[in-house]
């Protein structure tokens, strides 16, 4: 101790060469130099941009966002016409991206979990077929899948006039798009919604109560069935009592086309299907890896405690496997969201198609449009990875 203290106390005269050779000072030198080089590079790039803009007589402003867009978007979730401003076109695009990403993530998860579990099946045929699916989708570019599914829809599906409605006329696939029955909300549906939300909350509280009771007394209730009852019975009762306020608008063939119902264009369906099947193949691998990572000892220990296989899965294997599965799962969600920008290849107007496509070409403001576009994707990515970090910290193994 004293030696070290003496050494530190010794007032050594500072020499310039210490900035390079002394470990204590070297990191400062390196940092200052890197920072200077970095600033220089940034300054050089910014300066180039300014000079280039001046040479071309361009300015940097986002005023164009408030000018009329004067183009139409065929698939929109909010009120929009060609007289709306550019920012509204961008919002329509953003919503289209988010809808595609959200629905894609849901379907990809369903496919991925099902295939991942099926790949571990003892049935040779099933596991082989799942392997073929996974390898087939993972080794071919997603853009090719999107184009392939899209051309499959337009080549194989019938024209509206020849289309054969499925599921009692509610669901009509045609080469222009898919028609779904649309829900119609009449007066009284608000009450129904409130009751449904209330029963969800009730079911949740019942689950907690049943858990606490099981921990206290060891008695196991048929939680699943009771929950299902709480969820469905009051809503159904009220549905009939209120005189069926929620109806279905079924698409009908009128002339050359179907009228009514919910029309979803083929471009969206193709993107949604191709992206989810592609991402599903990756998720399947994550799920398989997660399940296989749980050592067999865990299952055996749980069996020796007398837990039946279903409870072993729910209480022992899944909670541990999820810890491994969820981080890559969320990065797959991120990939799907970013891949949804390929919508531009089949003409679905997502944010890349509106803000980064037509708006960019019409206004000629590449710099502003692309910066805004990147800012949007960056925000979504950082939000999702922020949520992931919170989750990771909450489930991380608490070591020592």
């Amino acid at each position: 101790m004293t030696v070290a203290a003496d050494f530190a106390d010794e007032a050594e005269p500072f020499r310039i060469s210490q900035l390079i050779y002394d470990k204590r000072y070297r990191s400062y030198t390196i940092q200052v130099v890197t920072m200077m080089l970095f600033m220089l590079a940034v300054a050089w790039l910014v300066n180039n941009v300014i000079e280039n803009f001046e040479a071309l007589g361009k300015t940097f402003s986002i005023d164009f966002l408030w000018q009329p867009a004067s183009y139409d978007i065929n698939q929109k979730l909010i009120e929009y016409s060609s007289r709306s401003p550019h920012w509204k076109a961008a919002v329509v695009g953003i919503l289209n991206t988010l809808v595609l990403a959200f629905l894609g993530c849901i379907f990809a998860t369903i496919v991925g979990v099902a295939v991942g579990v099926a790949r571990l099946s003892k049935n040779w045929l099933v596991s082989r077929l799942m392997t073929i699916y996974i390898e087939g989708f993972r080794n071919v570019p997603v853009l090719l899948w999107i184009l392939l599914v899209s051309s499959a829809f337009s080549a194989l599906l019938p024209a509206p006039r020849q289309a054969a409605p499925l599921l009692g006329g509610g669901f009509v696939p045609t080469n222009r798009g898919f028609y779904f029955p649309a829900p119609v909300f009449e007066s009284g549906s608000g009450i129904l919604a409130i009751i449904f939300v209330a029963s969800i909350i009730g079911a949740w509280f019942f689950g907690r109560w049943a858990d606490a009771r099981q921990k206290a007394t060891g008695e196991i209730l048929p939680v699943f069935w009771i929950r299902l009852g709480i969820l469905l019975v009051p809503t159904f009762l009220m549905y009939f009592l209120l005189g069926m306020p929620v109806g279905l608008d079924i698409p009908e063939l009128k002339g050359f086309n179907y009228q009514g119902g919910l029309f979803v264009r083929n471009s969206f369906m193709a993107l949604w299907l191709a992206l989810s099947l592609y991402t599903g193949a990756f998720i399947a691998e994550n799920v398989r890896a997660g399940i296989q990572a749980i050592s067999h000892g865990q299952t055996e220990a749980s069996s020796s405690l007398g837990l039946p296989p279903s409870r072993t899965m729910n209480l022992v294997v899944l909670p541990q496997a999820l810890r491994i599965i969820i981080p890559p799962l969320i990065s797959q969600y991120l990939n799907l969201t970013k891949n949804s920008s390929l919508a531009i290849a089949v003409g679905y107007m997502d944010v890349t198609g509106t803000l980064g496509g037509i708006t960019l070409n019409q206004t000629g403001r590449e710099m502003e449009c692309l910066l805004l576009l990147m800012a949007f994707y960056l925000t979504v990515s950082l939000l999702i990875s922020g949520v992931m970090n919170v989750y990771n910290n909450s489930v991380a193994l608490k070591e020592r």
Binding site: K122, L148, S151, M367
Partner: protein, 429 residues
Amino acid sequence: MTNKIAFVATEMLPEQAAPVNTKGAIAWMQSNLFSTPRDTILTVVFLAVVAGILYYLVPWLVLNSVFFADSIRECREIDTGACFAVVTSRFNQLIFGFYPSQHYWRPILTFLMMFVAFAPLLHDNLPRKMLWFTAAFPLLAYWFLWGGAIWGPLLIVAALVGTYFVYKTAAASLSPILSLIASVVFLIFWLLFIQSWLSAGLTNTIGFIGLEPVESAKFGGFLITFVIGVSGIAGSLPIGIVLALGRGSDMPTVKMICVGFIEFIRGVPLITLLFVASTLLNYFLPPGTTFDLILRVIIMVTLFASAYMAEVIRGGLAALPRGQYEAADALGLNYWQATRLIVLPQALKISIPGIVSTFIGLFKDSVLVSIIGILDPIGIMQPIRSSSEWNGIIWELPIFIGLVFFVFCFAMSRYSMYFERKLDTGHRN
């Protein structure tokens, strides 16, 4: 004594055949296809689905397909199945794009050289001297593909050799850091000022020795996929390693810059970066500079892949037990020695699966360049489909392109599994 006792058998009994229900095809089917009622139902359903698909696919794809014809009408006259004649008749375009046909040997030779260049990296029992060829391959490939006078590539070799000698002579009298700075200054000075002057001078005095130049706009098909993919792979690994080390650094500014770069690149889709390459990159360069779209795309794709690579390698660095770093410190190694000799070899080995899947992703993502108008296989598909001979072709081209991608990506992933097993030392932390 004991072996004379009569009731102990002294001879082996002849082996009996295994019971029918534990061995052979029937037993295998019983345990793998029909072990439980649920299994049986699954097997039957899936068999029916597969049979249904094959029933429609096999006649179209195999039995009635046409491989040689001049137009889709001719195809339809010959047979009812798939018209792969489009692939055979436009094969050169799908592979080389509009590369001049008398020079096809150049990309082919480059493709073959690529395997020779990769061989010493993938097999450690090959002579180490082959690594010199690997180092020279980028320049050779550039010269073969784009052509031009031999002087440019030769002078770059001269510049690198010169840099090495500057470093050696400076290191004799100066400190390592100063000599490193001197050699870098020499290299930059050479590349910026001497290179073009000397190359023009050599062409004037000795004359044009080289290959006929081919401009990038002529590149297309799988040639462009491989050019972008392989340069991205070669560039992203070193940049990714540097970024990963920077991210793990304890110097805040270095760490901040690396984290910012990685998170930015990983947060945006590749297509936006390609838009930047095609529309914005020229704004960031001094006025009047223009360079090739393909080169710009390669730069962007490389940067994109290196951010992902950095994360993969960071995972490898994090997985390395703390004791390895401490052992390196205890041996008195400095940062670079420890990194080069102890940390990176192990961290890279751990991250092989991730590195290869990043490579595969990069290779697949290179098709996105079709969106900014580069005629890669997917980009060239549209003109072929809308040409008068092949108007109406739908499935054949994507099937062919998908198959080629599948072969290469699948081979890469299988090779990485083999490589992983070979390098596995059996140590588990």
